[in-house]
C-alpha cells in the first residue's frame, strides 16, 4: 500500500490538499480586480502572488484600475518612485486607508529594485507598485520569488515600449485610452488562453466623472444627475 502511494506520488498523481502546503508552494490565488469585465477576462482577477506588468502612458487610469484591489487589502501597499506626488486626499475619497500606503522615492534604480524585493518578501505588504522603465529577465525572476515568499503582488508600471523578448511575469496588460473607455489588451496570462481586448468604460473607473458626451447621449442634462445616480 505504502509502495503504491509512493509510486503514485512520484507520478504526481496524488492531489495534496493545498491548505497543508507551505504558503510559498500554494497555488496562485486570483484576487478580484473589482471590475467584473476585467475579472472575467483575467479568469478571476489579479494573480496573487504574482507580477503584473502594466504598460501604459501616465494619466490614463492605471492607478484607478488598481484602486478597488488596493482597497480590498488589509496589508500595506508600497508605491516606489511614483511619477508625481501621491495625493492622500484622493485616496481618502476613494475609501482607502492612507495608513496602509507607504511611498518610497529612490533615485538609484537598483536600490528601487532592492527595496521592492524587501517589501514583497516581508509579508507585511500586499502589493508593491513599482514605476520602473527597464527591467531584465533575472530581475523579474527575483521579484517573483520575493512575491511568493511574502504572498504579495508586484505591479510594474512602465511605458509602452518594444521589449526585446518577454518578461517572466504572471500577467501582462497594455492599456490604451479610447474615447469611450480604457482599452485593455491582455498580452500574457499565465495558465490562460488568449483573450479579446476589452474596454472598461470611463464611468467605471471614475464613477463621479460624468462627461458631457455621456450626458448628451442620455438625452437629458440634469444638474444633479451625478448625485442622484450615486
Amino acid at each position: 500500500m505504502a509502495n503504491l502511494i509512493d509510486f503514485l506520488q512520484h507520478q504526481n498523481l496524488v492531489w495534496h490538499g493545498t491548505g497543508n502546503a507551505p504558503l510559498s508552494q500554494r497555488l496562485v490565488e486570483k484576487q478580484s480586480s473589482g471590475y467584473d469585465a476585467l475579472d472575467a477576462c483575467l479568469e478571476g482577477g489579479f494573480p496573487m502572488p504574482g507580477i503584473v506588468d502594466i504598460q501604459c502612458q501616465l494619466g490614463m487610469g492605471e492607478v484607478a484600475l488598481l484602486i478597488p484591489f488596493i482597497r480590498a487589502q488589509t496589508r500595506l501597499c508600497v508605491m516606489i518612485n511614483p511619477p508625481a506626488n501621491v495625493n492622500a486626499h484622493a485616496l481618502k475619497h476613494q475609501n482607502i486607508a492612507t495608513e496602509l500606503i507607504w511611498v518610497l522615492s529612490i533615485s538609484e534604480p537598483n536600490n528601487a529594485l532592492w527595496a521592492a524585493e524587501q517589501c514583497l518578501k516581508s509579508g507585511v505588504c500586499s502589493s508593491v507598485l513599482l514605476w520602473h522603465q527597464a527591467l531584465q529577465v533575472h530581475q523579474v525572476k527575483r521579484l517573483m520569488l520575493s512575491a511568493q515568499t511574502g504572498q504579495s503582488l508586484c505591479c510594474l508600471l512602465r511605458e509602452n515600449r518594444v521589449q526585446v523578448g518577454s518578461l517572466p511575469v504572471s500577467l501582462s496588460m497594455q492599456l490604451s485610452p479610447r474615447s469611450e473607455g480604457l482599452n485593455i489588451k491582455v498580452t500574457k496570462l499565465k495558465g490562460g488562453w488568449a483573450k479579446p481586448q476589452i474596454t472598461l468604460a470611463w464611468s467605471l473607473l471614475w464613477p463621479q466623472l460624468i462627461t458631457h458626451s455621456e450626458s448628451e447621449r442620455s438625452g437629458q442634462v440634469l444638474p444633479f444627475a451625478s448625485t442622484a445616480r450615486r
Binding site: G59, P83, V86, N87, H93, E99, Q151, L209
Partner: protein, 470 residues
C-alpha cells in the same frame, strides 16, 4: 568586614590583545616620561622591562609596536568592568586608576561560601579577557596592597591575612616618597614593623596623614568608600589595531561590540531603538552614524545587518583609528499581539521593514501620506511618518466623496496643450488667513492623448495643470 580588591595591571594592553591573538612585541609607554608601563610576553622575551625608557626599549628590537598610555581609556574600561560585575555583587567601589574594591561580607549571605563567590566573580570576568590580581583583606587598604602585590589566594583568616600584608616591603604602600623615606630612615623596612608600632606612638613621630593611613590599613579607622551606581547608558570604545581604509574590514571589530551590547540588553531585558556609531578618523572629524531600528532590537546579528547597510553608504575621509558604540535610550520589549495559529507570511514586521529600508536608503526616502484638514489641494495632503501599526479597523464608507486626482504635480505647471473640459468648474477660494490665498476654478480636462488632467483657471484667467487622473 571582608573586602576583595581586583587589580588590573594592563587594561590597555588587554584591549589590544582581545582583538588578535598573536600580537607583535608591544609596549605601552606613559605619555610624559616615556617609560614602559605595560608590555606583552613577546616584548618581555626581548628583554624589555617595566620602567625602562622608550629609547632603551626601542634599542632592543626594531619590530616593537609602541602605544601611548591613556589614563582615561583605562578608567573607562574599569567602569565597564564595574558595570559588568554589578550583576554578581552589589557594593563596588571604583578605585582609581585601575582597581575595583568589592565588599564581600554582605554578599556572603547570598553565596554559600567565599570560594563560590570568588568563582562567580572569576567566571564573570573570564569573557572580558582581562588580566587581574586579587587580594582579600579586612580593610580596603589591606586588600588593595595584597592585590597589587599579586597575592591571588583565598583566605578568610584575619591573622594570616595581616601576616601576609606584614611581609610586604614599605615600598608597596601607597604613600608618597617623602613619607616612605621618613619610615626607611628610622629603620622601618617592612609593613609588619610599621604595624607593630602603636598608633599613639606613631602620632608622636609622624604626621597625622600617616597615622590615618596606618589606622585605615589595620581597619581601626573608618575608610570612606563611595559605591558605584550603574549608569543606564551603554558605551564601548574600541581602538583598532590597524588603521582601516576599507569599511568592509570593520565587520568583525564591530560585531564584538554589538555582542557586548546584546549581552548588556539581554541581561536587562531591554531593547534599543537606535545605536550611535562614532568612527574616529585620523586628523579628521569623527563620523557619527545613527542606526535605527523602528521596532527595537537587541540581537547583535540584526544590528550588524543594519549597520552594514549604513556603512555601505558611508564614505571615509581619512583612515579609521577607533570606533565607539553608544546607546543612550532603551525601551521595553513589547509583545506582538499576533495570532498564534495562522501561519506567518514572510518574516518581518512593519517596523522591521521600515528600519531595513531606512538603513539602506536614508530617512527621507520612506514616508507615508496623510490628509490634512485644508481645502487647498496642495495643503490637503502631506507626507508623514509611515504607520507601523497593522491596521485592523473597519474603514467607514465615505459617501460624500469628491473627485480628486491620484497624483498631484510637485509644481503647478502652466497649461500649454489643447484640452477638452469634461467636468467643472469647482471653485476653491480660501486661505486668506495665512498669505497663501488661492482663488481657483478647477476643471477635469482631457488632452489630445486622452489623458485626464486636473486643471484650473486662476483669477487672471491663466490656466494651469495641477494633477493627473492616473
Amino acid at each position: 568586614m571582608l573586602w576583595l580588591y581586583l587589580h588590573f595591571p594592563q587594561l590597555q594592553l588587554d584591549g589590544l590583545l582581545a582583538q588578535s591573538a598573536p600580537l607583535p612585541p608591544t609596549i605601552i609607554v606613559s605619555d610624559k616620561q616615556h617609560v614602559v608601563v605595560q608590555l606583552n610576553d613577546a616584548a618581555r622575551q626581548l628583554g624589555v622591562k617595566i620602567g625602562m625608557g622608550l629609547g632603551a626599549a626601542a634599542a632592543m628590537s626594531t619590530s616593537l609596536s609602541v602605544y601611548e598610555f591613556k589614563v582615561d581609556h583605562e578608567q573607562q574600561r574599569v567602569e565597564e568592568l564595574a558595570q559588568w560585575l554589578y550583576l554578581d555583587t552589589a557594593d563596588i567601589h571604583i578605585s582609581a586608576p585601575c582597581g575595583l574594591l568589592l565588599k564581600v561580607s554582605n554578599m556572603l549571605s547570598l553565596y554559600p561560601n567565599l570560594t563560590h563567590y570568588l568563582e562567580t566573580i572569576q567566571a564573570r570576568l573570564l569573557p572580558q579577557n582581562v588580566q587581574y590580581h586579587y587580594g582579600l583583606g579586612h580593610s580596603p587598604l589591606a586588600a588593595q596592597l595584597l592585590a597589587q602585590a599579586g597575592y591571588d589566594k583565598i583566605d578568610e583568616d584575619k591573622a594570616s591575612l595581616f601576616a601576609a600584608v606584614g611581609k610586604l616591603p614599605i615600598d608597596a604602600l601607597t604613600l608618597n616618597t617623602r613619607q616612605k623615606q621618613q619610615l626607611l630612615r628610622v629603620g622601618i623596612k617592612s609593613v609588619q614593623a610599621l604595624l607593630d608600632i602603636p598608633l599613639v606612638e606613631l602620632g608622636r613621630r609622624f604626621d597625622t596623614e600617616l597615622v590615618q593611613y596606618v589606622g585605615r590599613l589595620q581597619g581601626k579607622l573608618h575608610h570612606p568608600v563611595e559605591f558605584y551606581q550603574p549608569t543606564e547608558t551603554f558605551q564601548r570604545d574600541l581602538i583598532l589595531l590597524f588603521e582601516l581604509e576599507n569599511l568592509t574590514y570593520l565587520t568583525k571589530p564591530l560585531y564584538t561590540l554589538l555582542l557586548q551590547l546584546e549581552a548588556f540588553l539581554k541581561l536587562r531585558d531591554k531593547l534599543t531603538l537606535e545605536i550611535v556609531l562614532t568612527l574616529v578618523q585620523r586628523d579628521a572629524e569623527s563620523l557619527c552614524l545613527k542606526v535605527g531600528s523602528a521596532q527595537g532590537e537587541y540581537r547583535a546579528k540584526k544590528w550588524q545587518e543594519l549597520c552594514q547597510l549604513m556603512l555601505e553608504r558611508t564614505q571615509l575621509s581619512a583612515p579609521l583609528q577607533a570606533i565607539t558604540l553608544r546607546v543612550d535610550e532603551f525601551c521595553e520589549s513589547h509583545n506582538q499581539n499576533e495570532d498564534l495559529f495562522s501561519e506567518p507570511i514572510g518574516t518581518m514586521t512593519h517596523a522591521g521593514l521600515l528600519s531595513l529600508l531606512r538603513a539602506k536608503l536614508g530617512e527621507q526616502a520612506v514616508y507615508g501620506v496623510t490628509v490634512l484638514p485644508d481645502a487647498r489641494p496642495e495643503y490637503a495632503t502631506s507626507r508623514c511618518e509611515p504607520s507601523v501599526q497593522a491596521l485592523h479597523s473597519s474603514f467607514t464608507e465615505n459617501k460624500a466623496s469628491l473627485l480628486r486626482p491620484n497624483f498631484l504635480l510637485a509644481q503647478i505647471q502652466p497649461l500649454h496643450d489643447k484640452v477638452t473640459l469634461l467636468q467643472g468648474p469647482e471653485r476653491i477660494s480660501t486661505g486668506w488667513w495665512d498669505g497663501h490665498n488661492i482663488e481657483r476654478d478647477y476643471f477635469i480636462a482631457q488632452d489630445e492623448q486622452l489623458r485626464r488632467l486636473w486643471v484650473f483657471r486662476d483669477r487672471q484667467q491663466r490656466w494651469f495643470v495641477h494633477g493627473i487622473f492616473s
